[in-house]
């Protein structure tokens, strides 16, 4: 079944072998363990934010959950649209991957991909050094982050419903 037939994809981005870079997958997996509303599917694109552009191009709405240095305290999350013109100006690179989310978004903007249909839950990591498991700060933040992801997912579903009405 193609993504174009679904309404919302939740993408947990990151590498669990790189400390807190695994937070995206952990939050997405925890969210997936609950009964999700019809039309919501969780995906794990690893360290490949470019996959998000493909799904947006197929008409899906996407919630991206990713470790992101936005200058907050470890575990603090910000929620923004992928087409938000301000987030590119933050001090540190937004994402921690080779082709980062910011580069993917710039590419999508050039190609006319509907970036507005994606929300990003960017979570400040404590450490992304190679190793196993999340830092204590992020472990304690998981329940709150999952709730933020759940609310963002509902917001995207409601947007989709409004468009269809």
């Amino acid at each position: 079944m193609s993504a174009r037939h679904r309404r919302v994809l939740v993408a947990g981005i990151g590498n669990p072998l790189a400390g807190d870079d695994g937070i995206g997958e952990v939050v997405a997996r925890t969210l997936a363990a609950d009964l999700l509303p019809p039309g919501v599917e969780v995906r794990y694109p690893g360290t490949d934010p470019l996959a998000v552009l493909g799904w947006l191009g197929e008409g899906a709405r996407v919630l991206v959950i990713d470790a992101c240095r936005h200058g907050g305290m470890p575990g603090e999350a910000i929620l923004f649209r992928l087409d938000d013109p301000d987030w590119r100006d933050r001090e540190a690179p937004l994402s921690l991957h080779g082709i980062d989310l910011e580069t993917a978004a710039r590419l999508g903007r050039e190609l006319g991909v509907p970036l507005r249909n994606a929300l990003v839950l960017g979570i400040e990591p404590a450490s992304v050094e190679p190793g196993r498991g999340l830092s204590r700060e992020l472990l304690s933040a998981v329940p709150r982050l999952v709730e933020m992801a759940r609310q963002a997912t509902w917001a995207l579903l409601q947007e989709e419903d409004e468009v269809k009405r």
Binding site: M1, N15, P16, L17, A18, R43, Y44, P45, G46, T47, D48, L50, A51, L53, G54, G57, H97, G98, I99, T103, R106, L107, E110, L111, P130, R132
Partner: protein
């Protein structure tokens, strides 16, 4: 008096990871020409020690998002070899299908996102998207297709966690395979367009004879799933004697181990495979090689880019064939049994996009990994890159320093290094008489 050069290019872009090129040219004499890998080693062998053997593919696939299927493949093969497990034919086909997906994804990303900007005169993929949006859209479509292959096989686009000793933890349904087959067949025009894109492009002239190594499959298929190690110098080694074919060594300027063969530096990866096994390609891939003008005897490392395009065609066509074969009997296959429960040594070899990947484990009677050794393709190519630079730089001396640096970046990119795997971006730094310019800073990437 000859030329002295001092060029400093930080963050050579469009490679995976961080490193530096340091060139010291004094009075026309090349004093130093190093590829520094400055990242802290990841020591993933240490991560494996003491872990249950069946966890190894799930850990090693996380080493790198680009080579994740390759690591999972070599890892599961090492575990199965140690435990005396021979997976069934359908399992082997499903794993090869996933490798086709990774080759397709990795090669498309490299040639269309990282190399194409050089070919079309753009500084990076973002301006390329503005000047040649069709190229980038084509690449995104093909990459999306590759994602679908891996998603269908393992339930994930990268970093598959479905590899189990003797079998697979996930088996695609007939409907999923039929959908994938449609997507693959429909993409033939896009794959042809990719070949057309790179037809007629002129690459820098750099010819240097170098030993090529590749592990050829036992069943006569194009090298992908491992087997005896073959050398372009005519020698062959069984997998367990990999250390006779490839000797790792330390150098002061690199956190990644270098490697050499019997006659010095070695090349592995698409160009080496093409040289050693071009006759095993399918007809569409051979047609692509012909259109691209790729000579099996070429010694020009820039032709890695062309070999990757050819292998993209091969991976695509093989994926179609494998899906058709799996559809003949799509029922899940039983896991093969353990026949050597006391453990022992196991060797896993996979031809991943960048070259030959070795995983060698010692598994104890408790089923836990006692020792592990992984030899990464990028590490095997580092010495060859440096040897290429030593030949290349003197031929570039009439060019402006900025252009020399650009050509060197192109050379390194041609090998498609994955420094994340070998230990992570590249700075190019020219020295003048052994002294770094104050503007060089500390350098060192990430």
């Amino acid at each position: 008096m000859g030329k002295s050069a001092s060029i400093n290019v930080h963050h050579v872009t469009r490679v995976e990871g961080h490193g530096n090129i340091v060139v010291d040219l004094v009075d026309g004499e090349l004093v130093r020409c190093d590829l520094e890998i400055v990242e802290a080693p990841r020591f993933f062998e240490v991560l494996l020690r003491g872990r249950p053997a069946e966890e190894a593919p799930r850990i090693t696939c996380r080493i790198c998002g680009i080579c994740s299927v390759g690591h999972a493949t070599a890892s599961i093969q090492a575990v199965e070899d140690a435990l005396g497990i021979r997976p069934g034919p359908k399992t082997r086909k499903l794993r090869r299908l996933n490798m086709c997906g990774e080759w397709f994804q990795s090669h498309v990303l490299h040639v269309a996102f990282l190399v194409a900007p050089d070919a079309f005169g753009a500084p990076s993929v973002i301006p390329l998207a503005e000047s040649h949006p069709g190229v980038v859209k084509l690449a995104l479509r093909l990459k999306g297709l590759a994602n679908e292959v891996c998603y269908t096989v393992s339930g994930r686009h990268v970093m598959p966690i479905s590899y189990l000793p003797g079998g697979m933890g996930r088996w695609p349904t007939a409907a999923e395979l039929e959908r994938l087959h449609r997507l693959l067949v429909d993409a033939r025009a896009d794959v042809d367009a990719l070949v057309d894109l790179f037809t007629g492009i002129e690459w820098p002239e750099l010819h240097r004879e170098c030993e090529c190594l590749a592990a050829l499959d036992d069943d006569g298929a194009y090298p992908m799933m491992g087997g005896p190690i073959h050398s372009s110098l005519g020698r062959t080694w069984p997998p367990h004697r990999y250390r006779d074919a490839v000797e790792e060594y330390l150098v002061d300027h690199s956190a990644a181990k270098h490697a050499r063969g019997r006659a010095g530096s070695i090349r592995v990866g698409a160009l080496a495979r093409y040289r050693l096994a071009h006759e095993l390609l399918g007809w569409r891939a051979q047609r692509a090689a012909d259109a691209l003008g790729l000579d099996p005897e070429t010694t020009n490392p820039f032709h890695y880019n062309l070999a990757q395009v050819v292998e993209t065609v091969q991976a695509h066509e093989e994926a179609i064939s494998l899906v058709e074969e799996l559809l003949e009997d799509p029922a899940p296959e039983e896991r093969a049994p353990v026949t050597r429960a006391r453990g022992g040594e196991g060797f896993g070899i996979a031809e991943v996009p960048r070259g030959t990947l070795y995983h060698h484990y010692a598994i104890g009677p408790d089923g836990r990994i006692e020792r592990a050794n992984c030899i990464i393709p990028t590490g095997q190519n580092l010495a060859a890159i440096e040897d290429d630079m030593r030949v290349f730089v003197p031929a570039l001396l009439d060019l402006p320093e900025e252009e020399i640096a650009h050509r060197l970046e192109m050379l390194v990119r041609a090998y498609d290094p994955c420094i994340s795997c070998s230990v992570h971006l590249l700075d190019v730094r020219f020295l003048r008489g052994g002294r770094r310019n104050a503007a060089d800073g500390e350098g060192g990437g990430g």
